[in-house]
C-alpha cells in the first residue's frame, strides 16, 4: 500500500514535469534538395559585392554581410570574399545629422590590396556591366577594357589576362547566384539619361549606354552556359526598376522656396524688363515665327512665385536648341524649362539646389540644372522599357538553362508599398524607409538581409532545399548619429 502511494506520488510528479516541456527540436540539417551547395559562387556587381553608402566598407561588418555571404552562411558552406583590407575600405558616406547632412569618409590606402591567387567565392565587382563581362567588347568604347582592368573593386581578380567570363570558368562552382545587368540600365539613369560620363584622366567616356537587348541576351546566355558546363545549378535575379530607388525619388521636383522680392526680381529682372517675363514673351515670338511649336513655348515658360514649392529650372536636351535666337544674356536658357511632377531629380542634386554664384545667379533658379541631374518623363519611360525588355531576356535565358529566377523587379515594388518583418516596417524611402543605404542606390545591411531571404525562398521553391531565412533586424540598419 505504501509502495503504491509513493508510486502514485511519483506518477503525479512525472506527469506534471513531463507535461511542461514545450521546447521545439532543432531544425533539421541543411538539405540542398536537387542542388549542391558545396561550392557556391556569386557573380554580379556592387549589389553582390556588398557595397553600400557609396563604398565598400566593413566597419560594422557591412561587407561581411553581403547578401551572398548571408546565403552562404545559411547553406553552411565556405565562402571567401575579397574583404577590404581596412574597415573604412574604399571610403563611404556617413550621416552627420538628419537634415540630412552627409559627410564622406575617405578610404584607406591599400584597402583593395588583395591577393589575386586566392580563390574567391564572391565575384561581385562594383560598377561592372554585363557587357564588360563577356567578349566581344565594344569597339566604340576603347576604354571598356581599360576601365574594367583599372576598376579598383575588381582588383582581386586577374582581369588583364582573363576576362570576367574566363574568371567564372576558372571556378568549380556547384551552385551560383547571378545578379548581373543592373549597371546596364542604372548607369544611364544615374547620369540623367546620358550615354557618357566624365572620368578624370580619360575625359568623356561612353560607358553609360543602355545595353541593347540582343547583346544582353547573348552575354547573359554565355554566363549561364559557363555555369551549365560545370554542372552548377543556381539562381538569377531580375533588375529592379531603378526609377523606384531613393536616388531618384527623394528630391522633389519643386523644392525651391522664394520670397516675394526674389520672385519679383527673377520675373522682372534687375532693370524691370530683362527677367523671365521678357524671356517668356520671346518664346511666344519664336512660336509665332515657327521656330518652336506653341506647345513647346508653353512648356518652356518660366514662372517663379513667392512660396515654398517652385519648380527647379533645368536643361532638357530633348528641347529645341535656341542658342541662335537668344540674346547672349539669356544664352544659358537655350535648353531650359522648369521641372514637372513627371521629372525625377537625382539625389546628389539636392546639395545644388539654391547654390548661389551671385545674388542673381542661383543654381536651379536662374541657372538651369544640367541635363545629367534630371531624368525626364521620356527618359524614365525609356529606362523602364529597357529594364522590362532585359528582364524578359533574363527570364528566358534562365528558363532555357534550367535556373531559378528571383524576381527582384516585382520585389522592389513590394518594398515601395511596404514590407514588415518581426514588427519593423520597411519602404523604399531614403533613410526613413530603413532598407536603403545613404547612397540611395544600394541597400543597407538590413536591405541585403531582405534580399538574401528573397533568394533563399526562391532557391527553396525551385530546388526543394530547406535553407532558413534570416531575422532581418539581427543586421545593422542605418548608423544614426
Amino acid at each position: 500500500m505504501k509502495t503504491l502511494r509513493y508510486l502514485g506520488l511519483g506518477l503525479v510528479t512525472l506527469g506534471l514535469f513531463s507535461c511542461t516541456k514545450t521546447e521545439y527540436d532543432d531544425f533539421e540539417a541543411t538539405n540542398g534538395g536537387s542542388a549542391d551547395f558545396s561550392i557556391y559562387i556569386a557573380v554580379g556587381n556592387s549589389l553582390t559585392q556588398g557595397y553600400q553608402d557609396g563604398g565598400l566598407h566593413n566597419e560594422y561588418n557591412q561587407q561581411d554581410n553581403s547578401f551572398p555571404a548571408i546565403i552562404a552562411k545559411q547553406m553552411g558552406t565556405t565562402f571567401v570574399q575579397p574583404t577590404v583590407k581596412s574597415a573604412d575600405g574604399s571610403g563611404y558616406r556617413k550621416l552627420l545629422s538628419l537634415a540630412p547632412d552627409i559627410a564622406t569618409v575617405s578610404g584607406a590606402v591599400g584597402w583593395n590590396n588583395w591577393d589575386k591567387n586566392v580563390k574567391y567565392n564572391n565575384l561581385g565587382v562594383a560598377g561592372i556591366k554585363l557587357t564588360d563581362c563577356v567578349p566581344p567588347f565594344n569597339v566604340n568604347n576603347p576604354y571598356q577594357s581599360i576601365l574594367t582592368n583599372m576598376n579598383p573593386y575588381g582588383a582581386y581578380l586577374d582581369l588583364t589576362t582573363k576576362n570576367y567570363l574566363e574568371n567564372i570558368n576558372a571556378t568549380q562552382a556547384t551552385f551560383f547566384t547571378c545578379w548581373l545587368g543592373n549597371n546596364d540600365v542604372l548607369a544611364w539613369a544615374t547620369n540623367g539619361g546620358n550615354d557618357t560620363t566624365v572620368i578624370s584622366g580619360l575625359g568623356k567616356v561612353n560607358n553609360a549606354e543602355l545595353t541593347s537587348t540582343a547583346e544582353f541576351r547573348t552575354k547573359y546566355d554565355a554566363i549561364l552556359d559557363a555555369f551549365k558546363a560545370m554542372g552548377a545549378k543556381g539562381v538569377c535575379a531580375t533588375l529592379p526598376d531603378v526609377t523606384a530607388i531613393p536616388y531618384f525619388t527623394t528630391v522633389p521636383h519643386n523644392p525651391v522656396p522664394l520670397d516675394a522680392a526674389t520672385a519679383n526680381l527673377l520675373m522682372n529682372g534687375p532693370n524691370g524688363n530683362d527677367g523671365f517675363l521678357a524671356f517668356n514673351a520671346a518664346l511666344d515670338q519664336l512660336a509665332i515665327g515657327g521656330v518652336i511649336t506653341s506647345a513647346e513655348a508653353a512648356q518652356r515658360k518660366i514662372n517663379f512665385t513667392a512660396g515654398e514649392t517652385n519648380s527647379i529650372l533645368i536643361e532638357d536636351e530633348s528641347l529645341t536648341d535656341l542658342s541662335l535666337y537668344l540674346p547672349s544674356s539669356s544664352a544659358h536658357l537655350k535648353l531650359a524649362r522648369q521641372t514637372t511632377s513627371e521629372d525625377l531629380i537625382i539625389l546628389p542634386a539636392s546639395s545644388d539646389i539654391g547654390r548661389t554664384f551671385s545674388p542673381i545667379q542661383i543654381y536651379g533658379v536662374s541657372v538651369p540644372f544640367a541635363d545629367t541631374l534630371v531624368l525626364t518623363k521620356a527618359e524614365i519611360q525609356e529606362v523602364q522599357n529597357r529594364t522590362n525588355l532585359l528582364n524578359n531576356e533574363i527570364r528566358t535565358s534562365a528558363s532555357n538553362h534550367g535556373v531559378a529566377v528571383a524576381d527582384m523587379h516585382s520585389y522592389m515594388f513590394e518594398l515601395q508599398t511596404g514590407m514588415t518583418f518581426d514588427g519593423v516596417s520597411y519602404t523604399a524611402k531614403y533613410i526613413e524607409g530603413g532598407a536603403f543605404s545613404l547612397d540611395g542606390v544600394h541597400p543597407n545591411t538590413r536591405g541585403y538581409a531582405i534580399i538574401a531571404n528573397k533568394f533563399i525562398e526562391t532557391i527553396n521553391a525551385y530546388y526543394g532545399s530547406n535553407l532558413r531565412t534570416v531575422p532581418v533586424q539581427n543586421y545593422r540598419g542605418i548608423i544614426f548619429p
Binding site: G15, C19, T22, E23, D422, G423, Q473
Partner: protein, 427 residues
C-alpha cells in the same frame, strides 16, 4: 486505493487554456470543476460568480484563495528553431465575504485579480521589436448585496471598482555607432468602474426517503470595464542623439484597456444519499465580450513620437465548463472538470505576447472539511495547446506550444450560523 485512483487522474496526459487575459481562477471549487460555479453558489466565491447566490449562504462566509500559475511557452519561427518565453510565474489571489444581514438580505465584498497577463522574452529574441516584456495586472473591489425575492429565487448586484497597472517593453530598431538598438519602456496605471449582477434559483428538489436531488440555476453578468491609463510614462534609452526628439528620454502617454463583459448561465444537479455521500454535476456557459478589445493604442505626449495603434480585433467567444464533485460523508471531496475554451484571437492577429488557442483544458481538486467552520480546498488546472498563426500587422509568423499548470489553495470559513451548518441542503 482511493489515493491511487486520484494519482492516476492527475498524472494522465493532460491537455491545457486560454481565455485571452482573463484569469479564470477565482474560486478553488470552481477551478476544480472546470470553472462552473454560477449554478452552485455553495461558498462565498459566489460574490464573484453570481451575487444572486449569496442569499443561499447562511451566517458569515469568508473564502480566500491563492493561485500559483506556471506557464511554459515555446515558439518556433521560420528563422529560429526554438524560443522560450521567460515569463515569470504569477500568483493571483482572491478574498470574498458574504454575510447574512436579514433573512432576505445579504451583503458581501470581494477583492481579486480578474484579469492579468505577464509575458517575457529574452531581450535579444527575434521578435524584440514586437514585444520583450508585457505585464497587465488588475485588482477588483466589489461591494455587493443580494436579496431573496422568492423562496426559490434571489438576486444580487455589486458595484465594481477596478485598478489596473500596465507595463511593456520593446526594442526600437534604430542604432548608432555605439548602440545596435534602442529600448522603449512604457508604464501606466488607471482605474475604471463596472457592475456585477446575478440571479440564483434553487429551482427544484426531489426529496426521497434516503436521498435528495437538488436542481439549481444561475445567471450572471459582469459588465465590461474601461481602464483609462491617463498618467502613462514612456522612457526611451539607447536612442541615437539625432533621433532623441522622436524618442525622448521621457514622455507621457495615454491609453485605454477595455476589459470584456462576461455573461454566464449555469446549472447544477446535486444528488445526496443520506449523509453518506453526494454527487454534484455543474455546467456553465460563458459568453465573453472580447470584441471590446479591438485596438490597443498609445498616444504620446511628445508630438514627434509616432503614436502606436495596433489592431487586436478579438472576437466574442463561448466557453463551456463542466465539473463533477463527489463528497464522501460531507467531509472529503474529489472534483474533476473540463472546459472547452474558444480563443478570441483570430488567425492573422496572434501575438507572441499572448499565444491564445482554442483548447480543452482539464481540472481536478480535493477538499477537506475540517469542521463546521473550516474547510480547505485544493485545485489544479492543466492547459496544453498548440497553434500556428501570424501577426500580420507585424510580419511575424510562429508555431506556439503553451502548457500551463495552475495550483490553487483555498480556505472557506463559516461562522455565526445558529443551527444547522448544512448550507448545501438549505431550502
Amino acid at each position: 486505493m482511493k489515493r491511487i485512483i486520484l494519482s492516476a487522474i492527475i498524472a494522465a496526459p493532460m491537455l491545457c487554456s486560454a481565455g485571452g487575459f482573463q484569469l479564470n481562477v477565482q474560486g478553488v471549487k470552481a477551478i476544480a470543476m472546470g470553472g462552473a460555479f454560477t449554478g452552485i453558489g455553495s461558498d462565498a466565491s459566489t460574490v464573484f460568480f453570481n451575487p444572486g447566490g449569496m442569499s443561499n449562504l447562511h451566517g458569515h462566509n469568508v473564502a480566500a484563495g491563492f493561485n500559483f500559475i506556471t506557464p511554459s511557452v515555446s515558439l518556433q519561427t521560420p528563422e529560429t528553431a526554438n524560443i522560450n518565453q521567460t515569463s515569470p510565474n504569477s500568483t493571483p489571489f482572491y478574498v470574498y465575504y458574504s454575510g447574512e444581514l436579514t433573512e432576505k438580505i445579504s451583503v458581501g465584498f470581494l477583492v481579486n485579480n480578474q484579469f492579468g497577463s505577464v509575458s517575457s522574452f529574452d531581450d535579444d529574441w527575434q521578435g524584440r521589436n514586437i514585444i520583450q516584456n508585457i505585464s497587465l495586472k488588475t485588482f477588483m473591489f466589489q461591494p455587493t448585496m443580494s436579496y431573496k425575492i422568492h423562496d426559490k429565487v434571489s438576486i444580487g448586484a455589486g458595484f465594481v471598482y477596478g485598478l489596473g497597472t500596465f507595463s511593456t517593453e520593446k526594442a526600437v530598431p534604430v542604432g548608432s555607432a555605439t548602440t545596435t538598438e534602442g529600448q522603449a519602456h512604457l508604464e501606466g496605471s488607471g482605474d475604471g468602474v463596472g457592475f456585477n449582477v446575478g440571479v440564483f434559483s434553487n429551482i427544484y428538489s426531489i426529496k426521497k426517503e434516503t436521498s435528495t436531488t437538488d436542481f439549481r440555476l444561475g445567471v450572471s453578468y459582469r459588465s465590461k470595464m474601461a481602464v483609462d491609463l491617463t498618467n502613462g510614462e514612456a522612457t526611451f534609452t539607447d536612442i541615437p542623439v539625432s533621433l532623441q526628439n522622436k524618442f525622448p528620454a521621457k514622455t507621457g502617454f495615454v491609453s485605454k484597456i477595455t476589459l470584456p463583459s462576461v455573461f454566464t448561465a449555469g446549472f447544477s444537479v446535486r444528488y445526496t444519499k443520506n449523509e453518506k455521500y453526494s454527487l454534484e454535476f455543474a455546467y456553465d456557459l460563458n459568453l465573453t465580450g472580447w470584441s471590446s478589445y479591438d485596438t490597443l493604442s498609445f498616444d504620446f505626449e511628445n508630438n514627434d513620437t509616432p503614436d502606436s495603434k495596433s489592431t487586436r480585433d478579438w472576437q466574442d467567444v463561448m466557453t463551456h465548463r463542466f465539473g463533477v464533485d463527489f463528497t464522501y460523508k460531507e467531509k472529503y471531496s474529489v472534483r474533476v472538470g473540463a472546459y472547452y475554451d474558444n480563443s478570441p484571437v483570430k488567425d492573422g492577429y496572434l501575438s507572441p505576447e499572448l499565444p491564445d488557442a482554442t483548447q480543452l483544458a482539464y481540472t481536478a481538486g480535493l477538499a477537506y472539511k475540517v469542521n463546521n467552520m473550516v474547510s480547505v480546498d485544493f485545485g489544479y488546472i492543466r492547459q496544453s495547446a498548440e497553434r500556428e498563426s501570424s501577426l500580420d500587422a507585424a510580419g511575424f509568423t510562429a508555431k506556439y506550444r503553451r502548457k500551463v499548470n495552475v495550483f490553487s489553495l483555498g480556505v472557506n470559513l463559516k461562522f455565526g450560523v445558529e443551527k444547522t451548518p448544512k448550507i448545501e441542503t438549505a431550502n
